[in-house]
Amino acid sequence: MTAYSYFPGCSLTSSAAEYDVSFRLVANAFGIGLDELTDWNCCGASPAPHHWGGELGILLPARNLHIAGAGHPSVVAPCAGCYNRLKYAQFELERNPELRERTGAALGEAVRYQTEVLNVIQLLNREIAPGDLSERVQRRLSGLSLGTYYGCVLVRPPEVVRYDDPNNPVKMEPLLNATGAATPHFPFKTECCGSYMGLAKKEMVLQASKRIIEVALECGIDALVTVCPLCHQNLELRQGQINAAYGTDYHLPVLYFTQVIGLALGHLPAELGIDQHATTDFGRWMLDAG
């Protein structure tokens, strides 16, 4: 059993609890050990790097890297935002000795920052071969068209995260295809959903997310797949607000990557927290599932 340090982040302990639940179920099914970081703190998300000069956007995730440094060789952060912040802190600490010094002073000891940081797609691709998943599938998702929605911060900026193609990422596809699902061409994979503007500048989120849903439906997509709780909030939770603002009638399910794999493994939608989503209108494919 390979064990990893696990940084859930704030969303996975509250509004995106179903992401945590489904991730743990999938990890457990493939013998992947997850040790939650002790006493982790918020990574600073989008506000920290954009406020007070931005340095909290490095210092807050640096503390989590430091805690991870005492654990396993790799730490996994399923939330795309947390993943980006951990990678950013690592990138800046690596090249800035003076920042390293100051971070260490605040932490009370020399900062440990070199633990390998993985996102959830990276971890599952490393631990699960598509062929193995295919053999373990209890509920084949044939006939289902999934729109792989990667968002911004998982793949950008490429010199910091160094993961997948920043314009056309494809790393989710092999495992999804192994479940029997199709992943048709979806040109809005990395279009921004509106980020953290939901409370303070709602119209930006509604417009940005509406475009993504609209294009997904034009591409014949049955559900979007994401790894980011903020994208999920904007595209899924706010779908009713989009409908109210634009007079549309969208009911497009948006699932976490881990929930799709969990479904294929035979778990019930409720076990994976899918019933906690606003849109549970799964139409034909969920009815004949399992």
Partner: protein
């Protein structure tokens, strides 16, 4: 509003500072407009990204520092990915925003600033974000009590609301990180 007394020469110093901090060359911009054509947020901007770059090229920095664009950029970095001469446009806009902030030009989009501050204050208090109190605080401060109220029944029904705030053990260490930036016990302003 353009300050007509401002000369291009004075603007040049700020442009040089933006170039230094962002590591980008403003003069390299070709004005092709590709950043604007890929921008999902441009509909809400006063100056689309390529025009903002042009304002910097001609030294009209006050327009840039006071722009909606600098505040509303989502920092999705799509423009930076697509620029044919590889300018990190999002980085330039972000730098302009930081300089505007330092210069105390805070009249544009105050609610976004308020949200970020409330978010960070919340994290400073608990060590982690407590979404519920952030939403309540923000709505009280802005006086828009019905903001996102439409989501409340859904959030409650779907058990997505965490009533009690989280609290980490070594909160002092997290607060020292805030002090590193703000030099006081917690976030000011």
């Amino acid at each position: 509003m353009i300050n007509l007394s401002q000369t291009v020469k004075e603007g040049a110093a700020v442009v040089a500072e933006i170039e230094r901090r962002s590591g980008q060359r403003i003069t390299a911009c070709l004005q092709c407009g590709r950043c604007t054509s890929t921008c999902v947020a441009a509909f809400a901007f006063d100056y689309p990204p390529h025009r903002l770059m042009h304002l910097l090229q001609i030294g009209l920095v006050e327009e840039v520092l006071r722009s909606e664009t600098a505040q509303l950029c989502l920092d999705c970095m799509t423009c930076s990915m697509r620029c044919p001469v590889k300018i990190d446009v999002a980085g330039v806009i972000e730098t302009a925003k930081a300089i505007a902030d330092e210069a105390g030009l805070r009249d544009t989009e105050p609610n976004l600033r308020l949200f970020r501050r409330g978010f960070l204050n919340n994290v400073c208090r608990h060590g982690r974000l407590h979404e519920t109190t952030l939403l309540l605080w923000f709505n009280l401060r802005t006086g828009k009590l019905t903001n996102d109220l439409s989501l409340a029944p859904l959030l409650l029904r779907k058990k997505k609301v965490r009533i009690f705030p989280p609290r980490i053990k070594n909160l002092r260490q997290v607060r020292r990180l805030f002090q590193q930036v703000n030099g006081s016990a917690g976030p000011p302003r």
